[in-house]
Assembly symmetry: C2
Homo-oligomer: 138 residues x 2
Amino acid sequence: MEPRISLVTLGVSDIERAHTFYEAIGWKGSSPDGEVWFFQANGLVLGLWDRSKLEADTGTADGGGWGGVTLAYNVSTEAAVDAVLTEAERAGARISRPAARNYWGGYSGVFVDPEGHPWEVALNPHWTLDAAGNVTLP
Amino acid sequence: MEPRISLVTLGVSDIERAHTFYEAIGWKGSSPDGEVWFFQANGLVLGLWDRSKLEADTGTADGGGWGGVTLAYNVSTEAAVDAVLTEAERAGARISRPAARNYWGGYSGVFVDPEGHPWEVALNPHWTLDAAGNVTLP
């Protein structure tokens, strides 16, 4: 198995609200069937799909709420961290951790999308972020 | 906010078991502090970290179990789907959905890693998978 991720699918209860949120923060989505939505990201796809259908399709049992997965979006400056959190909040996200310097030498905060999926927005001085938006470990 | 994901962090209860699993399926991990583990993927990073610490850091409440996020790993042939599922099962994953042709015209199955995080392994004839392992929507 090669080290790569092709798709991250987020289960949602309200697909209209969910895709509208990601469009409001600047992503371009499309839906092949009006039910599942896909957003092209950096070499992978973000998907949105009905949470109970995703649960059944995955063959798992929904614990409800958060299940141990947090996404992150890295930027190059502290001001960009602040700006993205503000943009997400305006689009309907909740800030679960305000931006601050953190113990690992970065600066970050967390927003939670309208469906409960959290994104850390971070400046990580230890990782390389290239012009295409890809990150590389040291 | 640009359409990209920098990091997908999976909360785990047993970090040794967790990083050993991803190493067993062929990923190369490193840990800056012996506590969090990072694996370079295609332009983003897969992270493993103590689930209760990730919960606190995210500012969320753990629902326990699955929380509506399923990752996917795309390959180019049905045989590769079968091979990856077999490899994951040998490394300690549980198959939650055996590989089969599915309603959207692909072929896929799902494994669940030792910490409960599911991966769909899929042949998706509608998406482009390039030599670098990146996927592109039609």
